[in-house]
């Protein structure tokens, strides 16, 4: 009862209220959708404590048991503490850890930014290796994939403009040919998501509960 029925009821009520208030501008309903987003992020904040705690324990265990590569768990702790401590200090000292000039920002600029953008940049290499492997004219559909990809790739660089027809063809593919399927896929996803939401509200879909 408490474990299954109540959660289903909570989902039902919350979902229905959110949907109904969408059509009612009158206070206090009009703002409810916006408020709900804020509420969601507050709950997310609490859950993050659980998540981070499990991560800290994971590395603590590795060190305690001297598991293979446990030395790197010290690096993990160093990174965690460096950020956490500078964050707390900057928050107390300046009231805003994210302001320019705090030690927290210094670490952000010189540790997080390069890590983040280099990780992202790895994609340039993976895009090359994936296209080398995947774009083979194995059958009709694979050939289509390959041909459109190559045409658009050429059309996006200035040299493509020198091959007659490539630029207009690329523009035509992007503006018309791919527009229909792109729209169809998205309408499909939206419909699927709506149908899924209905199932959730009705309590038919309850993977995580039973």
């Amino acid at each position: 009862m408490l474990q299954r029925r109540i959660p289903l009821l909570i989902t039902f009520l919350t979902g229905v209220i959110i949907v109904i208030t969408f059509f009612i501008p009158h206070p206090p309903f009009g703002k409810l959708q916006d408020d709900a987003l804020v509420w969601y992020s507050i709950i997310l904040g609490f859950s993050m404590l659980i998540g981070v705690d499990s991560l800290l324990r994971f590395h603590y265990r590795r060190i305690a048991r001297r598991e293979k590569g446990f030395g790197f768990s010290f690096v993990f702790y160093a990174g965690f503490l460096a950020c956490f401590i500078t964050g707390i200090i900057s928050e107390i000292k300046f009231g805003d850890a994210f302001a320019e000039g705090t030690s927290f920002r210094y670490l952000y600029d010189y540790i997080l930014v390069p890590l983040q953008s280099t990780m992202f940049a790895l994609l340039a290499f993976f895009v090359a290796s994936a296209s080398y492997r995947a774009f083979r004219a194995r059958n009709f559909i694979a050939t289509l994939l390959l041909i459109t990809a190559v045409i658009v790739m050429l059309g996006r660089i200035p040299i493509g403009a020198k091959i007659p027809g490539i630029t207009p063809l690329t523009d035509w593919i992007l503006n018309y040919l791919q527009l229909g399927p792109a729209r169809g896929i998205r309408i499909g996803i939206a419909l699927g998501a709506i149908s899924m939401s209905l199932r959730l509200i009705l309590g038919i879909e309850r993977t995580y509960l039973s």
Partner: protein, 367 residues
């Protein structure tokens, strides 16, 4: 010229429509770009003073006064400054009120009723008559058992990698259904399963899902909460962490499910480099091409969302899929009729008859 302009000017004050109240809109009608400044003053009908509220917008010729009290009457005075003259106009009394229904959203309401109607109707039908419901083949979902099986034969763990969306995203909930299937297979074969999480709420839900699956096949003792890993709520930190785990744990099967952003290809290429069978599914239309290029099986968009019905094959679920298909059919027919209407309207319009065209445009405006 100037006199003509001024004679044609008027000012309107009305309750701002379709809102939560507390707001009155003042609109100057008949202006066309010569306005230098337009000041709006308000009198609360309690004394004779007019208080400056703000300026008329020079692009929309409107001012929205949000400081009105609901139900209280106000008078407004508008001073319009032109290059060579100033004009003062009065309007009111007017009061603000909150509306109980937003008619601009009627089309949303109608669509929701029709679509939910189909889904509910077919769920009801399925309850009464559970036989004969069909769902087309989705190869990527059939491959789940094979992938876990092969991973077991090779003595390698199975990886389930969640995307970056939270629990509020339909794609994440679909991912959880697939996780449910994967974990019951894994529990049955007694191979290790590692679930990586980006979002802590999803982690909690994953943990519940996997635990339930293990309990169902009677292997609850084999369930290890520590294998439901939380990494970090940072896109590429998560990617770096998952990549590292994959390279070191060397999985035989990798499931990439949920909403992904750019990291999709980094993860899929790393999974491929360790030789795992990869089954991906996402509602992120932008990332589908990369999964198609780098993975063995891909659930395309809506296929992901149909997964729970496909796997469970429960009549009510299949009924909802059927209802949703009818919703899709409704949209297609709607598009079809709309296109025919638009075509006829355009042809008539070219020939000089604009009645249908105007009707069409009115309809589009309402929609």
């Amino acid at each position: 010229m100037m006199i003509l302009l001024i004679l044609s000017l008027s000012v309107k004050a009305f309750d701002t429509p379709n809102d939560g109240g507390g707001s009155i809109t003042i609109e100057v009608v008949g202006l066309n770009g010569d306005l230098k400044n337009g000041y709006v003053y308000r009198n609360s009908m309690e004394d004779t003073t007019f208080e400056l509220r703000g300026l008329i917008s020079r692009t929309s010729y409107k001012y929205v006064d949000d400081g009105a009290e609901n139900g209280k009457e106000y008078l407004y005075k508008v001073e319009l400054e032109f290059d060579d003259t100033t004009l003062t106009l009065f309007t009111g009394p007017v009061s603000a009120k909150a509306q109980w229904y937003d008619p601009t959203r009627t089309s949303v309401l109608i669509f929701l009723i029709i679509f939910s109607g189909f889904v509910l109707w077919f769920i009801q039908l399925a309850r009464k008559n559970p036989e004969g419901l069909f769902i087309r083949k989705i190869p990527a979902l059939d491959a789940i058992d094979e992938a876990v099986g092969r991973s077991t034969e090779m003595g390698k763990p199975t990886f389930f990698i969640h995307g970056l969306s939270g629990i509020t995203d339909a794609g994440t909930l679909a991912a959880l259904t697939i996780l449910r299937r994967v974990s019951s297979k894994v529990a049955e074969y007694e191979t290790p399963l590692i679930v990586t999480n980006y979002d802590p709420i999803v982690m909690a839900a994953s943990s519940e899902t996997v635990k339930q699956a293990y309990a169902e096949v009677g292997k609850i003792d084999n369930f290890n909460e520590k294998n439901i890993v939380y990494l970090t709520y940072e896109q590429f930190g998560y990617t770096a962490g998952v990549d590292g785990l994959m390279i070191r744990e060397n999985p035989g099967a990798v499931f990439l499910q949920g909403y992904f952003y750019a990291e999709s290809l980094i993860l899929a290429e790393t999974g491929h480099s360790v030789g795992a069978i990869q089954i991906a599914g996402t509602t992120a239309a932008t990332q589908l091409p990369f999964f198609i290029a780098a993975c063995d099986y891909v659930l395309i968009g809506e296929e992901t969302l149909a997964a729970s019905s496909y796997i469970g094959r429960e009549p009510v679920m299949l009924g909802s899929v059927k209802g949703s298909d009818y919703g899709k059919l409704f949209i297609m027919i709607f598009i079809g009729i709309g296109v025919i209407f638009a075509t006829i309207a355009t042809i008539l319009n070219i020939k000089g008859n604009s009645i249908l065209m105007n009707a069409f445009n009115t309809f589009m405006g309402w929609l």
